[in-house]
Amino acid sequence: MKLTLRVWRQKNADAEGAMSTYEVDGISQDMSFLEMLDTLNEELIVKGEDPVAFDHDCREGICGACSLVINGDAHGPERTTTCQLHMRSFQDGDTIDIEPWRASAFPVIKDLVVDRTAFDRIIQAGGYITAPTGAAPEAHSTPVPKPDADFAFEHAECIGCGACVAACPNGAAMLFTSAKINHLNVLPQGAPERETRVLDMVAQMDDEGFGGCTLTGECATACPKGIPLFSITSMNKEWLRANRKVAR
C-alpha cells in the first residue's frame, strides 16, 4: 500500500504547529497503524529529518499511551486503540490525517504527544480506596454481589488514554472521571469515601479546565474499552446524592 500522511508537527509546547505531508510506500495490510508510523520514522531518521514523536508503549491496547486522532476520529475508524488499529482498515492510495488529542487540559508536548497528567490529578483527588497495606480484612469477609462486581469491572476497564476528551467537542473528561467514580462507588469497600470521592474528583476535573458535558455521546463512541455513556449519568446521580448527604 502507498499512502499520503498529513501529520501534525509541532516542535514543542510553545511552538506553532502545522500539518506536514509525507508519502509512505510498501505498507502491509497486516501492519498496525503504529508500525506504519515506525516505517515513516525509519525513513525520516535515515534522511536526517526529525521523526514524528508519538506516545506508545504496550502496543496491546491496554496501557493507554497511544493517542492519535486519525481522520478526525480518536484512535481512528475502528473501536480500539491506535496500536490495535491495523492498516487493513485503509485503502491503497488513501490520504490519512493524523493529529494529537486536542484539549486545553492536554497541552501538546511535541508533535502528537500530549500531556495527560491532568488525569492523574483527578485520580489523586479521590480515585482510590483508603486501604493502607496490611490493614486489609480477609478477602471473603465482604461478599460483593456479582452484578455489582461486574458493574465495577466494566468501569474499571478504563485505560486512561484520553480518547473521550479528544473526541468530545467540549474537551470534557466526564467519561474518564465517571468511570473511576462508578468503579469504586458501587463496591462496599468504596462506600466510606463515596461522597467525598465524587465531590473532590468532579471539582478537580473542573479545575483542570476540562469542558462540560452536552451529552453528545462522542466520548462513549470513541472509548476503546466501551465505557458506556450512562457512566456519566451514574456519576451525576452520585454527585447529586453526595451534595444532598453533605448538606445534611
Binding site: 498529513r6 501534525w8 500539518m19 486522532v69 481522520n71 478526525g72 476520529d73 490525517d97 493529529e99 486536542r102 484539549a103 486545553s104 487540559a105 473526541a167 468530545c168 467537542p169 467540549n170 474537551g171 470534557a172 465531590l199 473532590d200 468532579v202 471539582a203 476535573m205 473542573d206 479546565g209 476540562f210 469542558g211 462540560g212 458535558c213 452536552t214 451529552l215 453528545t216 455521546g217 462522542e218 458506556p228 455513556l229 450512562f230 456519566i232 449519568t233 451514574s234 451525576n236 446521580k237 452520585e238 454527585w239 447529586l240 446524592r241 451534595n243
Partner: protein, 223 residues
Amino acid sequence: MTRTIWDSSLGKKTVMAVSGIVMLLYLVAHMIGNLKIFFGPEEINHYAHWLRTMGGPVLHYEWALWLVRIVLVVAVVAHATSAYQLSRRDIRARPSKYVHKKPSASYATRTMRWGGIILGLFIVWHILDLTTGTVHPGGYEHLHPYQNIIDTFSTWYGNVIYIVAVVALGFHVQHGFWSAAQTLGVGSRSRDRVLKTVGTALAVLLTLGFVAVPVGVMTGLVS
C-alpha cells in the same frame, strides 16, 4: 474545600436541567391553552381572563399569573446564564479545532446552543408581540388574545418567526429532555428507550400543538 453547587460544572448542568423542566412543564400548559383558539374567541378570551383570576379568591387578581411569570423569568435567566457560562467553559476547553473536520461530533451541541439562542430571541419578540403588544402588527387589545393571535399570524414574518422558533423548540426539547434526565441521574441503560421516546413524543407534541395555531390561521380554520 467548600464549593457551592453553582461553582461546579455539574451544578450548573443541574440548574439547567431543573430550569429546563420547569419551562417544559409551562410549555405543555401553554400549548394546551393555545389550542383553545380552535374553539372560538369566547373560549380563549375567557381562558385569558381566568389566568388572571386563578388562585382566587385567596389570591388577588393577577397574583398567581405574576408568580408564574417570576418563576419563568428566574428559570429563563438561570437556564441562559448557566448555558452561557458552560458554553464558555466548553469553548475554552477546546481552543484549537481539528484540522480534519468531522461534522457529526457537535450536532447535539450546536442544536442546543443555536436553538437556545433562537428561542431566547423569540421569547423577547413573543412577549413584545402578544403580551405587551409593543411590536404587535395590528391594534393590540389587552385580554383579547383571539384577535391578537390572528393579527400576528396574518403577517408572513409572524408565521416564519413563530414556526422557526417552534421547530427549534422541538429539537431543543428532544435532546434537552433526555439530557436533563441524564444530568439528574435518572437515566440508565434499561430506561433509555423510555426516556428517549418520552423526549421525542414531548418534542413532537409541542411542535405540532404550537404550529397548529399559525397553520390554523393561515388555512382560515381560525379567522
